[in-house]
Amino acid sequence: MAYTFTRRVAMGLAASAALVATTATTALAEGWKPQKPVEMVIMAGQGGGADRLARLFQSIIQKESLSNMPILPVNKGGGSGAEALRYLKDKEGDAHTIMATLNSYYTTPLRTDIGVNIEEFTPIARMAEDTFILWVNADAGISNLDEYVAAVKASGKDWKMGGTGTGQEDSLVTAMLEKEFGLEMTYVPFKGGGDVAKNLIGNHINSTVNNPSEQMGFYKAGKSIPLVAFTPERLAAFPDVPTARELGHDIVYAMQRSFVAPKDMPAEAVAYYTAMFKKLSETEEWQTYTSEKALMPAYLTGDDLQAYFMTERDKHQAILSAMEGNS
């Protein structure tokens, strides 16, 4: 049941959004402006963390009238984002398509031969880095990292770590954990972070490395416990959760949330979208969201962003080959 937006929907959306947007003025009115609705390709399916975040961006853009044309989110989540990457490649030179990325932006072209080189795409803006935390069910009787490591060692292969697809972010963090502590767990892949979170609470798996936003509801209800954060510093939303680094284990991993555009997008269009996301990063809604959901705001753009992408790709290449070497 792969639903995406239809052209008819697009027109309806355009019409309805026009109703909302006509009275408002855009601060970005000078120079180039989109001539038609802008497609926002999402590298993941509906309902997951990436999708929710992309739709939040869309809603803030709409609400604050940051774009004179509506933004249409389009999910192309097939094959860990392979579908979206292929789609963007075919859009060369297009000024009305942008893509919301996550780390599968590097890993998918590395793992599967889909004929995409991300170096060709045009970087727009990095909005934030999402964080990873190690979670266990509140009934598990584990309250810190040492107890966790002891419990996993005792159960061996019976210990089930849940996460997103093999080769994606969660499995990379798991591989780092296994390497650091000499553990061996069974990694069970699920379709999305929400599914993973639910299976932890239902006791079908023993631990996860969910993003905070995915566990937040359960955490607030006291159903899950965060053990350790894989961030450089403690998160404001979880002041009592130590980082792995503090405990003497150098595991730091983040998920970038950025926007990129097709190869050879006209420079004026790139400038327009860059300014749009800059405005977005300054809105109150975005600031509140990042602090509540424990995201690290990390606005970055242009050549710096491209350089960042390339370093990250090399890092992921290293982690992936280490993983394949193990198994």
Binding site: M1, R52, A82, R86, F190
Partner: protein, 505 residues
């Protein structure tokens, strides 16, 4: 009671003039969106989502829920009248709805669909009101093993169907399962069965494409052949007498409807399942437990009522994991969830405690939306039936155009249109050879879920196949599945002995 007090307060919200207007507007829009092939509740909700900034969050979610509901009612309309499923959730409605329309009973079928939707919607909202909190725990108890067992149960209801050739049913299920593996592998991300390197197959074969092909196009081809040069005009009219008669007829099948409601609610509640499998499963069970299973697929009113109760019940059910666990049970609820995030609400176990106005306003609006939907739907039936008075030559071209548009719209790929044409011809040939098409569609819907949950369980249990029967919940489902599988044989044996003992009958 606490719940009732909260509900009463909710009604105070949902019965405000603004919200009442919003419900009627949403239901009417949803009805038409659902009735258009290719446009379903997902699209309807998506169109309206940005508009919801101008009203308060509680009105916004009420509007979206009303559209969702209206579309569930509307999906049946084109399934019955044209034989093209209006939405994925209404595929099972074509099985008997279309034959009824061909027999000139389109009005009755539409009434059955409307009443059944109302019953399903209402029963499920009552269940939701009373048991939302404990039921959230049931949804949590469902891990991969349980999902697999449930899907297996769904398949056995179809294998065991009385009227059809069992071997042919199994062949069709296998074919559907093969089709469901096309695309990128869920777990490793590698492409499978993409026929060389056709990018169109990367996202798999959409089940709506298959349904539109075999039912929409296949049906047109079949009708062209059977009607030969003398095009038949379906005599369709609707009177108040017929309306009363229809509602009366519904009274006799309350068992099917109440079972469909419970089943739909339950299946809809499970994350990842949703209304489409629920309606197909309810159809299977209705046929399985019927005294006259051979009349299904040939215009049995129960075959319309069962899926329609179930899909509406499931649409309510899928709101439950969305609100209590923050996990959408269907593509549409994923969008609703997005809306809630936009309005600054955090779905999850605390939502009921922190935002009671919102939650209970939504629940109470489901009652009003249901009521509005059934009234508006019945009022519009004469209009829908009137559309059937067109000569077949005209209608047939319209149906074909709608099939193509409906197949192209969701993905905007010509690839899918060619697939529809191919499936249309295949569906026509299979039908001529007396192969049942419903199991094929069911297998494509449930195949990915079944494969994923099977592999997850085996990975988690390190290859221990007995995990499926060792877990109490999944063990129970597997036992029921086994029972369903042998039930037709027992029936057959009992019939055999009875006629043997009393040949005079």
């Amino acid at each position: 009671m606490d719940v009732l007090a909260l509900l009463a307060e909710g009604f105070a919200t949902s019965l405000s003039p603004l919200n009442l207007m919003v419900v009627i507007l949403g239901v009417t829009a949803g009805l038409f969106i659902g009735a258009m092939p290719g446009l379903g509740s997902v699209n309807g909700v998506a169109i309206v989502l940005p508009l919801t900034f101008i009203v308060p969050p509680s009105s916004a979610i009420i509007l979206l829920a009303a559209i969702y509901y209206g579309a569930m009612y509307g999906g049946a309309v084109s399934s019955i009248l044209l034989g093209i499923p209006g939405a994925s959730t209404a595929v099972a409605t074509t099985f008997d709805g279309r034959p009824m329309a061909q027999q000139g009973k389109a009005g009755l079928a539409l009434i059955a669909a409307a009443v059944a939707s109302f019953v399903g919607g209402t029963i499920s909202v009552i269940l939701f009101t009373l048991f939302a909190a404990p039921l959230a725990d049931v949804a949590l108890a469902f891990g991969p093993a349980e999902e697999f067992a449930l899907v297996l149960m769904a398949f056995t209801t179809f294998v065991g169907l009385g009227g059809d050739d069992k071997l042919k049913t199994i062949i069709m299920i296998c074919l559907g399962l093969v089709l469901s593996t096309v695309g990128l592998d869920l777990i490793s991300g590698q492409p499978r069965l993409i026929f060389g390197d056709m990018p169109g197959f990367y996202s798999g074969i959409s089940f709506l494409v298959l349904a539109i092909g075999v039912y929409g196009v296949g049906e047109v081809l079949y009708t062209i052949e059977t009607s030969k040069s003398s095009p038949q005009v379906t005599p369709a009219k609707i009177t108040f007498g017929e309306l009363a008669l229809g509602i009366k007829a519904m009274g006799r099948i309350w068992k099917t409807m109440s079972f469909g409601s419970f089943m739909g609610f339950f299946v809809g509640m499970l994350p990842a399942a949703g209304a489409t499998p629920a309606s197909l499963m309810a159809y299977g069970v209705a046929k399985q437990t019927s005294k006259h299973p051979e009349t299904f697929g040939k215009g049995n009113i129960e075959g319309v009522a069962a899926p329609e109760t179930a899909n509406n019940a499931a649409s309510t059910g899928s709101l439950l994991p969305m609100l209590t666990l923050g996990i959408p049970g269907s593509p549409t609820t994923a969008l609703l969830l997005g809306g809630m995030v936009m309005w600054g609400l955090v779905p999850g176990p605390m939502l009921f405690i922190e935002q009671p106005d919102f939650v209970w306003g939504l629940i109470s609006s489901l009652y009003t939306a249901n009521f509005a939907a059934v009234l508006i739907n019945i009022a519009l039936i004469p209009l829908f039936v009137w559309a059937l008075r067109m000569p077949f030559t005209v209608l047939c071209s319209i149906v074909l155009v709608l099939c193509i548009v409906g197949g192209f719209a969701p993905s905007q790929k010509m690839h899918d249109v060619w697939l529809i044409a191919g499936f249309g011809v295949a569906g026509y040939l299979l039908r001529k050879a007396d192969y049942p098409l419903a199991p094929l569609v069911l297998a494509l819907v449930l195949g990915p879920l079944m494969e994923k949950s099977f592999r997850q369980t085996l990975i988690a249990e390190q290859g221990n196949v007995f995990a499926f029967v060792e877990r109490p919940l999944s063990g129970t489902f597997i036992a029921i599945a086994a029972l369903f599988f042998v039930l037709p044989f027992i029936k057959y044996l009992r019939k055999g002995t009875r006629s043997g003992i009393a040949p005079a009958e």
